[in-house]
């Protein structure tokens, strides 16, 4: 590190430097005697402007600034999974520094030894991105040491199986251009630069989240992107936590961006205890936490999203399916706005800088299912919570995020205040992945999923129409088939869409159980309509089936016993049919008497 200049002016997280040596735009630098992390955001002649990632109180003009020669980067190395880092990847919750953040702290994970197994031999030809060896990072996640993307060539040395540390060279590659390149365990990658891959693949299957309203009605594909807007208290964070727990991804990156410290404490308390549904191992063994809470410096909040997505890409490149949850991207956008304001940039919509949409687009572009440089398949799925001021979805961050994501999960204040969670509005939410994931569902569950969804969707639509009528004339005035529709739509909402994140059985729901619950409602509804057409009163049907009990099946029946739901369905449909037959027989008798 070399001194590049001295501070000229400090204003909050922004500082101006009088340069003595050249620096690059986006270069990471260290500021002052306390060695605060910062980044060059603009250059003008012999002056540079920095954003500083730490508390700046106490900095004085004239303090030195040191360059690093590289842009703001993350370290990709074993030890990341299971750890908690701040927005610029410094470890949290470690050391004896006490419970408060100390400016200028550095990361020291480099001493730990990891068991390395080589997967190449001397003389092998390797592409950039090829795996040279692996480390069992956690019992759930294998870390692969990759040839740097630009170092295609021939292996000239490989470390034997055994312990390695971050800075150890585990292989050497002579590139086609004739350079000797060292491959170290730990590698750096600039956070604002997407990592390369060989090819982008179409979405082909869903990422199962375990949330019925999402998987069944508004699915997200592996490698897809979704936005999750909602006013405060609507359930964004609980849903993001549920996704982090229940999704069938290999690695989860959870970015707590400008939100509550206690929500991070909650993850740290729960995840080591909870089981990964796929491996039975603690959830923390597949989770990376990036936490830049609202009381932490605002510039690092801006960086945290990039730190998170770069780590996600790094694990994707090792052949993993990675899902990233960011809560909340609005705080990221606000950090952008705050920095732009301090730089006196021209504001566009609501004070946000004009480049807000392009930054959002570039972020969500980093989602995708790909063929990695090593030829494997990997994916990054991105789910961003959005916190619109006043719950107004027409504000810029919600609007632009909606444009750049393919699934839109709108959370509703009224549903939340009725404690219908997840408060995903069924009118107004959507997913463009329905067609892409339908074949997977048919294959996995053996039912015509598309048709089932359509029938359930029709019932919800009928319900919305009837609710409007009820508000005008009251339910009593409606004909029987509509009363039945209202009752069964209620069952669909209560017994399928509503899902209690706190319930041991209901918190996450397997695809087969989801399909069975939906079938139960749809087939019971249709059987009831048939009975009503035969002259049965809806009240008779309500007496014949215990709708409240059917609504509790989701909590009573665990995933691995879900065929019991089919039994309950058969019983209910049979009960309705019996009522219908009785009515038909009675009518036939009456008509027989009459003739």
């Amino acid at each position: 590190m070399t001194r590049v200049g001295r501070l000229r002016r400090i204003t909050g997280p922004i500082a101006e430097v009088a340069l003595e040596a050249p620096v690059g735009v986006m270069e990471a630098v260290f500021v002052g005697d306390a060695h605060l992390a910062a980044e060059v955001i603009s250059l003008d002649g012999d002056r540079a402007t920095l954003q500083i990632y730490e508390e700046t109180a106490g900095l004085r003009p004239g303090e030195p600034v040191e360059g690093t020669g590289a842009p703001l980067s993350v370290t990709i190395a074993p030890g990341i999974v299971g750890a908690t880092v701040d927005g610029i990847q410094r470890p949290l919750g470690v050391g004896d520094a006490g419970p408060y953040l100390v400016p200028g702290a550095t990361s020291t994970d480099a001493e730990r030894a990891w068991p390395f197994t080589p997967t190449v031999a001397v003389g092998d030809a390797v592409d950039g991105g090829a795996v040279v060896g692996t480390v069992p990072e956690t019992p759930s996640v294998t870390f692969s040491v990759l040839v740097p993307p630009d170092a295609k060539g021939t292996v000239t040395s490989v470390a034997p199986a055994g312990d390695v540390r971050h800075d150890d060279v585990v292989a050497q590659v002579r590139t086609d251009a004739g350079d000797e390149r060292d491959v170290t365990v730990a590698q750096r990658w600039p956070v604002r630069t997407p990592r390369p891959f060989a090819a982008r693949l179409e979405a082909d299957r869903p990422m199962i989240t375990g949330q019925r309203v999402l998987d069944t009605f508004f699915p997200i594909a592996r490698g897809g992107s979704a936005s999750l807007p909602g006013p405060f208290g609507a359930g964004k964070t609980v849903l993001q936590h549920s996704l982090a727990k229940g999704s069938d991804a290999d690695v989860i990156v959870y970015v707590g961006c400008g939100e509550r410290g206690n929500e991070m404490a909650q993850v740290l308390r729960e995840f080591p205890e909870l089981e990964d549904p796929r491996t039975g191992r603690p959830l923390m063994d597949r989770t990376i936490l990036v936490a830049n809470t609202s009381n932490m410096p605002v510039a690092a909040r801006e960086a945290s999203i990039y730190t998170g997505v770069t780590l996600a890409e790094a694990y994707r490149d090792m052949g993993h399916h990675v899902a990233l949850m960011a809560d909340s991207t609005s705080r990221w956008a606000e950090a952008l706005r705050e920095i732009a304001g301090r730089l006196e940039e021209m504001p566009a919509e609501e004070g946000y800088p004009a480049y807000l949409p392009s930054r959002l687009a570039a972020f969500y572009e980093r989602a995708g299912r790909v063929t990695t440089l090593a030829g494997a398949e990997g994916s990054v799925t991105l789910i961003g919570a959005v916190s619109p001021p006043g719950g107004d979805f027409t504000e810029p961050v919600t609007q632009h995020t909606q444009r750049f994501t393919r699934a839109f999960w709108a959370l509703d204040r009224d549903l939340a205040s009725a404690r219908h969670y997840p408060a995903v509005r069924w009118q107004g939410s959507y997913s463009f992945y329905e067609d892409a994931v339908a074949p997977w569902w048919r294959e996995a569950t053996g039912v015509d999923w598309r048709d089932l969804r359509r029938r359930a969707g029709d019932l919800l639509e009928e319900d919305a129409r009837l609710e409007r009528m009820v508000r005008l004339v009251g339910a009593e005035a409606l004909p029987d088939r509509q009363r039945w529709a209202l009752l069964l739509a209620d069952l669909l909402k209560e017994g399928v869409l509503r899902q209690n994140a706190l319930h041991p059985i209901d918190a996450s729901c397997a695809p087969a159980k989801q399909v069975r619950l939906v079938r139960l409602v749809v087939e019971l509804y249709e059987a009831g309509l048939e009975a009503i057409r035969s002259g049965v009163a809806w009240l008779r049907l309500r007496e014949a089936v215990d709708v409240a009990a059917l609504g509790r099946l989701k909590e009573a029946v665990p995933d691995d016993e879900s065929e019991r739901i089919d039994d309950a369905r058969d019983d209910a449909v049979a009960a309705v049919a019996a009522v219908r037959r009785a009515a038909e027989a009675a009518r036939a008798e009456r008509e027989g008497v009459a003739t």
């Binding site: 606000e334 304001g341 006043g390 219908h420």
Partner: protein, 474 residues
Amino acid sequence: MIDVVGVDRIDGPLLVVEGFAGAAYGEVVEVTAPTGTHLGEVLSTGTDAAIIEVWGDTTGLRTEDVAVRFRGETLRLGVGPASLGRVFDGLGRPRDGLPAPPAAVTADVHGAALDPAARAYPSDVIRTGVSAIDAMNTLVRGQKLPIFSAAGLPHDALATQIALQAGGGEDEDVAVVFAALGIAHDVAAGFRERFEGSGLAGRTALFLNLADDPPMERIVTPRAALTLAEHLAFEAGRHVLVILTDMTNYAEALRELSARKNEVPGRKGYPGYLYTDLASLYERCGRIRGRPGSLTQIPILTMPGDDVTHPIPDLTGYVTEGQIVLSRALHRAGIYPPVDVPASLSRLMKDGIGEGATRADHAEVAAQTFAAYARLRDVRSLATILGENALSATDRTYLAFGEAFESGLLAQDPEEARDLDTTLDLAWAALSHLPASELGRVSEATLAAHYGGGHGAGAGHGGGAGHGGAGDAT
């Protein structure tokens, strides 16, 4: 410390000292003029000039007779257990005529950011004796739970009732730190009298920035109060309850300062960093792993125009762990406390309640009551439009539920500390007006243990369905 005499420019609350390169960013300054002394802070510092923000009225200041003392450190406050029982001004200076209390430590009023990984997740329930809170919006130690109120509603009474009932007893570990932000003298005096007349006298510290005190000092007041609270909670191991009232006045002072600094205004003229600024106060709360104390916050704010989407309640709700919303309609109907149940929320309730902590049926009865109350709203609006005759038999049971809930559970005397069993039994009494088929959020086992209805739609008890009462869920 460095003294500079004379400044180059005065621009609203900002002073510019040119040719002075010695200031540290964020350091505190004393600005002395013939009219008095103000505190301020370095807002921007460079090799050519320092810009100072003054927390006080700069009207009438003249550039040549202003002396600025740079203290070389950020604003610090001496705090300790001896601060309890005392009254301070908005900057933390004694206001009761006594000398400054002996300080255990001197701490930066801005606090230091707590490492999220060092926090302990709060889950110990505080029994407030207020049914609307204990049953439906349970408060836990280390939570920040604001009261969203509006002009003319009894938020002061509710906050005092919570403080006294949660901490006024024999529990010597509890301390109260009260920050008055631009409220009237009589309101502050009211709080003070009720604290003094209770077991809390001697365990309360008051920081008063009243309506006629300099509004700019209001920026410091909550920070000074929280500095003491943090010390008491995290160093001295006390359970500290902080009441900040009225946060609307605080945010308005921040807006005024921002406007005078010519910053780009955000929604309704509030600065774009209002969220971050509020978070820098509200996040000074919680528990720390391995330390015994806790810091619980009850900020009070009045919603301008009763509008919950106004930036102050909105951004507060985005930071705090729930909100207790007061309803004008319930207040008019004579119900105290007029808690708007569907709009209120305690985010930390879910991990606090249940068997061992409150009662095994708590989560279910609360969930069912929320659902029923939401349905009640629809039924009531239908009844208003179409008359009760248009209601179905089931709908009518909701009206009975609503009446029993509001007059039985919600309403209570400002002096009444109701125990939790009674509170939850009152919730069951209200729910027992509904047919069992409406109680889908309660498991069959819980229903069997607590439900006292089921004598046909509309059958209701006055309030006698009790805990463990005969289950008749058929």
